[in-house]
């Protein structure tokens, strides 16, 4: 952090030295910020201070529902597997495991790394892994991630360092489920610590990760310190991590621009051009595994009519939405499959003719075929969304007006919005799914008949068959064909009008080195150092 005490003292004393004062006042941001940065006391590994603008609910990985928290977890815990990214391909590699063998399609054997210890000194062995997996699978209270182990039949300890997971059927999503990041179900926690702290484990987290938990002050900060016994040689490089919980993004922007913090966990899109232009900052971000969409109620109201939904899907000018609502950040989405799903995403999808796209003539054609004639005024429920606020809803209004749909925007606060979305009390709403790495998590829970996240209430038997089969087929080409078919069905029947895939940003000061970017909205500080 900038040593304001030093700067202020210097300024006050230096008031006598007129030239310095003139320079300080006149030269503005760059010199002032630079001077601020240089006054920081440097230790060997140092402390990184990061502004966290997204929500942290709990530090218990088996009970979280928020990516803002998972970003922290990844620095405290490890998974059986982890996500790797080489700039081209996303892959899943052993993390706590040394090797991962698939005996037949249903039996997975993990040989663990020897001598790995939890932060409380207890060993991370096969028993601990078994205990952790079972906590998610069938523990009480029930983990919200239990569904990821629905097909699990048995967890066996073969020897102190070997554990075997036996499933009732092949399970294509398993690699994602077992990562300590987006999957969460495969995060390994210390059994001793969970038994000791019970429901309060989320405030006293103990894992195997590069950083140990020190303290958490509500609404203020979370502090982590270096785990000197971390199993990856030479890591971590930092001594201390201070996470400053900042609700107000513009305050975080000011802090990062003035050098008071070394980075930001995310940023609303409207600030990105300003941050990129700042010579002291590096802005990292690529298109990630997500999609933004407008959902329509397929069960009741005007959008039960498939032609009206198709009309909406054709009426949205995606390029214009990206320009106006997202400040140029993002790419048009044609189907829910997003670029980081490298085995499944079609790089030439724009030219393929598949998926949803803007075509006003077709929109009008479908509108003419719909049952409702004349102007309709459906209820569009909106809430303030983190990265783009209410701008998507506002931007599409004139586009929909062209096909005589004039939605009434109802701006409600989040708790109310979630409750209305979950109970189907809407005609339209806008939303996004974030940090997906496999088409299964992008399609199955969101659109299969009767699944928990199928808020539009859409149902299609052929789609269900495709996504069911794709869960148990491990052959990538076969899965890809099934998912393409599933996507074609859903994009045609349009329970949602999909708009875009978004980049997710991490902002760091230039002196932050060695950060490895992974397109799953993670902020792993293992390799990070301060220059």
């Amino acid at each position: 952090m900038v040593d304001h005490k030093a700067i202020l003292t210097e300024r006050v004393l230096g008031g006598l030295n007129r030239r310095d004062l003139m320079k300080g006042l006149g030269a503005g941001a760059i010199i002032a910020a630079g001077a601020g940065l240089s006054t920081r006391a440097k230790a060997a590994g140092g402390e990184i201070r990061l502004a966290w603008v997204d929500h942290i609910d709990t530090l218990d990985p088996h009970f979280t529902g928020f990516l803002g928290a998972v970003k922290v977890h990844n620095n405290i815990y490890n998974g059986l597997l982890k996500v790797e990214y080489d700039g081209e391909r996303v892959s899943f590699v052993p993390d706590l495991a040394e090797t991962w063998d698939v005996l037949d399609e249903k039996v997975h054997v993990f040989k663990l790394k020897p001598n790995v210890k939890f932060h409380d000194g207890t060993p991370c062995d096969a028993e601990a892994v078994k205990w952790s997996v079972e906590r998610v699978w069938k523990g009480e209270p029930k983990s919200p991630h239990a569904w990821k182990f629905k097909a699990l039949e048995k967890v066996e300890v073969v020897d102190p360092l070997t554990v075997r997971l036996i499933f009732s059927r092949p399970y294509a999503f398993l690699p994602v489920a077992l990562t300590g990041s987006t999957g969460r179900a495969g995060t390994i926690v210390s059994p001793t610590a969970v038994q000791k702290h019970g429901a309060n484990f989320g405030r006293n987290p103990v894992g195997t990760g590069p950083f140990k938990f020190v303290s958490w002050r509500e609404n203020d900060s979370i502090v982590l310190e270096k785990n000197a016994d971390y199993f990856e040689p030479g890591l971590p490089k930092l001594d201390k991590v201070t996470i400053l919980i900042m609700k107000e993004a513009s305050a975080a922007i000011a802090a990062v621009m003035s050098g008071q913090v070394d980075g930001m966990s995310d940023s609303p899109v409207q600030f990105i051009p300003q941050l990129k232009a700042n010579p002291n900052l590096q802005v990292l971000g690529e298109i990630e595994g997500n999609y933004v969409y407008i959902a329509m109620n397929c069960k009741k109201g005007p959008f039960a009519d498939i032609n009206l939904r198709r009309a909406v899907a054709f009426a949205l000018n995606r390029e214009q939405i990206i320009r106006q609502a997202f400040f140029g950040q993002g790419i048009p989405a044609y189907t829910p499959i997003s670029p980081p799903m490298t085995d499944f995403y079609d790089k030439n999808i724009a030219e393929s003719g598949r998926g949803q796209r803007f075509d006003l003539a077709k929109a009008k054609e479908h509108r003419a075929k719909s049952e409702t004639k004349g102007v309709i005024e459906p209820i569009f429920v909106v809430t303030e969304e983190g990265t783009y606020g209410t701008r998507l809803a506002q931007t599409v209004l004139p586009m929909l007006a062209q096909i005589d749909i004039k939605p009434k925007l109802q701006l409600v606060e989040r708790a109310n919005w979630v409750s209305r979305r979950n109970s189907g009390d809407f005609d339209m709403f806008d939303f996004n799914w974030w940090a997906d790495l496999d088409p299964d998590e992008t399609l199955f829970p969101e659109f299969r008949t009767g699944q928990a996240w199928n808020y539009p209430g859409w149902s299609n038997a052929r789609f269900d068959a495709c996504v069911d089969e794709a869960q148990i087929v491990l052959d990538v080409e076969k899965r890809k064909a099934l998912y393409n078919e599933a996507c074609d069905i859903i994009m045609d029947e349009a329970p949602i009008a999909i708009t875009s895939h978004m980049p997710v940003f991490k902002i760091f000061a230039k002196k932050v080195k060695g950060f490895k970017y992974i397109p799953v909205d993670s902020l792993n500080l293992h390799t990070v150092s301060l220059a």
């Binding site: 304001h4 405030r203 609404n219 802090a255 913090v261 109310n416 979630v418």
Partner: protein, 315 residues
């Protein structure tokens, strides 16, 4: 006298009880529940039902209230639903000192600047000084605090890098750090009161200076500063203290915005996020603390009168 005091205490307790019932029911009436929010992207009806039961939120509202009240009275304020923050520690030990420090600094700043400016205006009534002070303070008051806060951050935090713009440093641990961290927030919050204090001081002082005892003091040959600052100002104190006591509510409202802009982990931020997340226990704790603060402030104002005005002293 004892009976009078007992009745006063009883009244106060009734007020607090009514406040607690009202805030509990209001929050329960608001649509949405904490569990749906907690589950975030992991929502399913089964997970929802199981978590509601775990947290006791499936019980009748009256039972939930009585459980809360029982715990609250014996000092067991519970933990927040999902992050399991111990509420007493969070609300009383961590958040409250931040807000009190902010409020006290802002108030002190407003009085230290506002009273002299008011005196200046009153003694130089209808001159350029008077107009300048009025213009300056009204401009300050007219700035919404979130805008002024961001403006100050931009100029003094980012451009000049003179002051930190985030976080709280307890002045009792590090006096200088505390002052530096509190300067911009205190300025932001004080502007609202500044104009009020200036106008109040000015009006009352002008009136006081026309009283016979002032003329008498002058006739005795007392120096002008003594006439104004001792004899005159003494009579301004009474209305000033009354108004400041009554303005505590506005001060806490302003603190919400100021805390958000400057990332101060105080009661304001605690309450906004607790209301948005339907953290019933945290909201109740915040409401009760604020209500007690009101009651205590009013009591303090009552107790201060006899010191400020000898005529009110019991004979």
């Amino acid at each position: 006298m004892a009976w009078f005091a007992a009745r006063k205490v009883l009244q106060t307790l009734m007020v607090l009880l009514i406040v607690s019932v009202a805030s509990f029911s209001l929050l329960k009436l608001a649509p949405g529940d904490p569990v749906q929010l907690m589950l975030g992207s992991e929502y399913s009806p089964e997970a929802h039902a199981s978590l509601m039961a775990q947290l006791g939120l499936d019980r009748p509202v009256a039972e939930q209230y009585l459980r809360w009240l029982g715990g609250f009275l014996v000092g067991d304020w519970g933990t927040s639903f999902i992050s399991k923050a111990p509420i007493f520690q969070y609300a009383f030990m961590e958040a409250l000192p931040v807000t009190l420090t902010l409020a006290a600094s802002a108030l002190a700043l407003a009085v230290l600047i506002g009273v002299p400016l008011g005196v200046l205006s009153a003694t130089r009534k209808d001159t350029g000084w008077d107009a300048a002070v009025a213009t300056l303070t009204l401009t300050g008051t007219s700035f919404p605090s979130f805008y002024l806060g961001i403006l100050l951050i931009w100029i003094f935090g980012v451009k000049l890098a003179l002051f930190p713009t985030l976080g709280f440093v307890a002045p009792w641990n590090d006096l200088w750090g505390g002052i530096v961290h509190m300067t911009l927030p205190a300025i932001t919050l004080s502007t609202y009161f500044l104009a009020m204090i200036v106008r109040l001081t000015r009006a009352n002082l002008i009136e006081a200076l026309e009283q016979p005892y002032i003329a008498a003091a002058r006739a005795r040959g007392e120096p002008r500063w003594r006439v104004v600052w001792v004899h005159g100002l003494r009579n301004v104190m009474l209305p000033l203290v009354t108004i400041l006591g009554l303005q505590l509510g506005a001060l806490l409202q302003g603190a919400v915005l100021t805390e958000t802009v400057f990332s101060l982990p105080g009661v304001g931020q605690m309450m906004t996020s607790a209301v948005l997340n339907r953290e019933y226990g945290v909201v109740q704790a915040g409401v009760m603390m604020t209500a007690c603060l009101f009651v205590l402030t009013n009591l303090a104002v009552d107790l201060a009168y006899p010191y400020l005005d000898p005529r009110l002293r019991p004979r």
